[in-house]
Amino acid sequence: MRLTNTIYKLSLIFLFACVCSISQAQERGDVLIKNGTVLTITNGTLENTDVLIRDGKISKIGKGLKAASGTREIDAAGKYVMPGIIDAHSHIALSSINEATSPVTAEVWTGDALDPLDISIYRALAGGVTISHALHGSANAIGGQSETIKHRYGTVDMDGLRMEGAPRTIKFALGENPTRVHGERSGIVPKTRMGVEAVFRSSFSEAKQYMEKWEVYNSDKGKKGFKGSAPEYNLRLEALADILKGNIIVHCHSYRADEIYMLMQVFKDFGIKKLVFQHVNEGFKVAPELAEFGAMASVFADWWDYKFEVYYSTAYNAAILTKNGVVTSINSDSGELIRHLYHEAAKTQKYGDLSDDEALKLITINPAKQLGIEKRVGSLEEGKDGDVAIFSAHPLSIYTVPLYTIVDGVVKFDKENDPADMRIYPDPEETIDVTLHDREDEDRCMDMGYSNYLLTDK
């Protein structure tokens, strides 16, 4: 009995500890950042300047600011303060990514598959990233709707991750992925690049008919003696109709210039304006056309040649697009790359000589524009969200280290206080295997005795 009692007491302690570690959803905080070099992005660089965040919003940027007593102060003297980095193409924090069973899945939504427990969110925070675009995969010509998330790590609440008020987005895909998944594997349209275009045109045409049917029904149903039935509710066509109405921003996976141009033609024909190309490796070939359409581009800094259609690429892509007036961002599409997007942005200075501001825009205000959230985030301005990253050196320097990442005025990453185990729910059935290797051999890849692979034929 006594043992049982002890266990019970112990369990209460654990319970209490656990409740405390789970933070409230959409918590907003106060922080005063003192004497930093403030990279505002939209208003130049301000030396020895303070940034005051109150109740999750930037309330003041200036010198000699004071905060209410008890407000956390961060001494940023000699450090660099920039807006939280935004990743316009990511798949972290998702339980499922690709509903790869149909060439059109406009009705599905990654917002239903959010996973706030994903440790990748914390890793992204450790790279200064405060917002990412949790995109559907690229298997389908018209993929799923996607969710813009704030990296409020520490909650189990799916709703706590959603960036409330962010516009709806949807994933499209061109080229090899949809033709391989549906054409090659299932033997259905689209088998070719022509087929992909046909999928878009037939889907939008169907959605138009659907909208018209509803219009007719809605105008007739009040009439006397009306006997008809409503068009059958179709969630897929509802979503496509919302694209036609301009309520959803299309983010399209793309590589080849001819297809990029094709999609712009399709969108012109259907009167759709909100268009962001993802990857867009051959964007440099059609940069003026993209600018003219008003389409934006989210690219890799220097990743290519991973499949046939990605062969013709250049690391100058981001710079060429930028210089042609295309709103361009650099994305990660990876849970690893997301941790050093600031390095990726810096590459555009080596390949294309972009200025500091131009390079930083690629990971801040420009992705914000692509997600339709530029009025809220992407630069340090009074009234904007308190999403901030603080670096030890200029964020475009190879020597820089992210020190603090703040979301809605809450410090979510603090390098000085970075616990070893940041998992929210450990796997209760995990096999614990701790193996610390003797690193000496591994670190000396040039001196491995007999097994020096550099000297063999392999």
Binding site: L3, T4, I7, Y8, S11, L12, F14, L15, A17, C18, V19, I22, S95, S96, I97, N98, E99, A100, T101, S102, P103, V104, T105, E107, V108, W109, D112, A113, L114, D115, P116, L117, G144, V156, D157, M158, S186, I188, K227, G228, S229, A230, E232, Y233, N234, L235, R236, A420, D421, R423, Y425, P426, D427, P428, E429, E430, I432, V434, T435, L436
Partner: protein, 572 residues
């Protein structure tokens, strides 16, 4: 080349058939026909309901109904006395949601699946897992082993639902007694069972597609129902309404005549189901909840009824440290970084597991009532889990309520089930010690007044670490694509030096084998059968728990099939 291969494999299948031919399944229950329908239990501790105990009381039942319960009760002369002096009587437990008596769907090679679908984006409903019109009562098998297993634990009624994916079908409240589905059935269409499980390879395959499809079906059903109502009112001039049975299956839910029992095991699935409830507005029984401890406010605010899972990650017993033997010598040494990290990880894991077991007490403290669902639990684990709930803060009365009155309430049968009161259905069981005592045995279970006399199980579970003694005869049965195979496995010899043979009851063939590995309670052996010059190697793995085993039989390239069986009584 292709053709040759197919003749070759046909011959092999024929061989398999020879060895493993279909035979009727054995009968589990051995209850004798009752002589009378009136029973009396005297001098017993009657736990009428949570917190209501009569010491040295008498219970009389007649024709399936409790006719008297109390201290001074008149006993009819015709009553058969049940030998249960000083024993404990409890109201029969109720499974809030389970698959008891529902046979697991057979994964038949050559059956319908992804390969039969031309366009995976538009699969037929049965492959997509959209069968809300199916009824658990149509899929009920009275002789399924699970019925007996649950009855032996004191369960007398169950809200059963079919196996399946997104929309497996309609639930039915059944009594755990009877020879046929009709005898078992108490109430049809209790719940619309739903899950977030996608269909492999076809639409909807992911959780996000399941949710989208659910929303669409629900809205379509609303539309169809509204139109149908108009049509019923005045059909003339109107097109014939929709006759989709899938949509019609939602109508009682739309009318709030039926609730959706939605399986929501982990924290994210619970949130997703609550999102669907909020979007669509159905009445919800949040079922098979495993990780709800951080969501108590949300769950409470949703107004959903709750069924907690009994199928939880294993909690290791407080041992005197199992690594003691090798750590005694290490004790004086400094802890290495590896030791420290391992300890920290172990501690977090332990703390995580504890959440599952403190959850019932937490829910009670937050004012959330709950019953239990038993969708995936092994019957042999049920009591251990209940005892651990009690060790972690749940009171015995609260546990009892979650097993009796709470599910009766949720299922709308409080007036006839859940307690031992006059007029209620004679669903109860008798134990030799208080139920939550580890040593307690259920002696009799009465369901609808029908007595099931349970024999003591010889020998409790082995002490785990030690290899079990497998000597003796074991009956087995396995479901193969060619049908059910059964027979006897015989082990001879001593631990470390076993030999064995396996027989097939339909062909009377017997094959000897020698290579037997026993590791803890797991036994693996291999044998070959030769026919028509071809050899087929068969590997059987048995995981023994007491007197029963479950495992797999792997037959060369034909794949693996589940196999189970029981120890046969020693021959004298």
């Amino acid at each position: 080349m292709k053709e040759r291969k197919s003749t070759f494999s046909q011959r092999r299948i024929y061989m398999l058939l020879l060895f493993f031919a279909v035979l009727t399944t054995s009968v589990y229950g051995q209850d004798l026909p009752a002589i009378t329908s009136t029973y009396v239990i005297k001098n017993a501790n009657i736990i009428q309901g949570p917190g209501r105990k009569i010491e040295m009381g008498t219970l009389v039942i007649k024709d399936g109904v409790i006719t008297a319960v109390g201290k001074n009760v008149e006993v009819p002369a015709t009553a058969q006395v049940v030998e249960a002096d000083s024993m404990y009587i409890y109201a029969g437990f109720i499974e809030g949601l389970s698959h008891t008596g529902q046979e697991e769907p057979k994964e038949v090679p050559g059956g319908r699946g992804r390969s039969d679908v031309k366009d995976p984006g538009n699969p037929p409903n049965d492959i997509a897992g959209i069968d809300p019109e199916r009824r658990a009562s149509d899929l009920l098998n009275a002789s399924d082993k699970s019925v007996n297993d649950m009855r032996e634990l004191g369960f007398t009624a169950a809200n059963v639902v079919p196996h399946g994916r997104m929309l497996p079908g309609q639930g039915a409240l059944v009594l755990l007694t009877g020879e046929s589905a009709d005898e078992m059935l108490y109430k049809e269409n209790t719940v619309l069972f739903s899950q977030l499980d996608g269909a492999p390879g076809v639409y909807p395959s992911t959780v996000m597609a399941v949710m989208a499809k659910y929303r669409e079906l629900y809205r379509q059903a609303e539309q169809a129902k509204a139109y149908e109502a108009k049509y019923k009112n005045k059909a003339s001039g109107m097109s014939r309404p929709n006759t989709s049975r899938v949509l019609q299956a939602f109508y009682p839910v739309l009318e709030k005549q039926q609730r959706v029992a939605f399986k929501a095991e982990d924290v994210l699935d619970i949130e997703r189901v609550l999102i669907l409830k909020k979007d669509l507005g159905f009445n919800l029984i949040l079922s098979e909840v495993k990780q709800g401890w951080d969501l108590t406010d949300k769950i409470k605010a949703s107004g959903a009824e709750v069924l907690l899972s009994l199928n939880l990650p294993e909690m290791e017993e407080e041992k005197t440290d199992s690594t003691m033997t090798d750590s005694t010598s290490v004790e004086k040494k400094e802890k290495t970084a590896v030791d420290i990290e391992r300890e920290e990880l172990e501690a977090r894991k332990k703390q995580m597991i504890l959440n599952y077991y403190t959850q019932p007490a937490l829910f009670k403290s937050k004012g959330i009532e709950f019953g239990f669902s038993t969708l995936g639990v092994k019957s042999s684990d049920v009591k251990d889990v209940l005892i651990k709930f009690i060790e972690n803060g749940l009171t015995e009365d609260q546990a009892l309520a979650a097993l009796t009155t709470a599910p009766a309430q949720i299922l709308g049968v409080s007036s006839i089930m859940g307690t031992l009161d006059e007029g209620k259905m004679a669903n109860f069981f008798i134990t030799d010690k208080p139920y939550f005592d580890k040593e307690a045995n259920v002696k009799y279970t009465f369901v609808d007044g029908q007595m099931h006399n349970l024999k003591d199980k010889p020998g409790k579970k082995g002490n785990g670490e030690k290899a079990v003694d497998i000597k003796g005869k074991w009956s087995y049965s396995s479901e193969t694509p060619q049908g059910v195979v059964n027979g006897v496995i015989t082990f001879k010899g001593e631990p470390g030096d076993y030999s064995g043979s396996i027989s097939n009851s339909s062909t009377d063939d017997s094959t000897d084998f020698n290579d037997i590995t026993v590791d803890g309670n797991s036994v693996v052996f291999e044998f070959s059968i030769v026919s028509d010059g071809e050899t087929l190697k068969i590997t059987i793995t048995m995981n023994i728990e007491g007197e029963t085993f479950e495992g797999t039989m792997t037959a060369g390239e034909y794949g693996s099939f589940p196999i189970k069986g029981d120890k046969m009584p020693e021959e004298n």
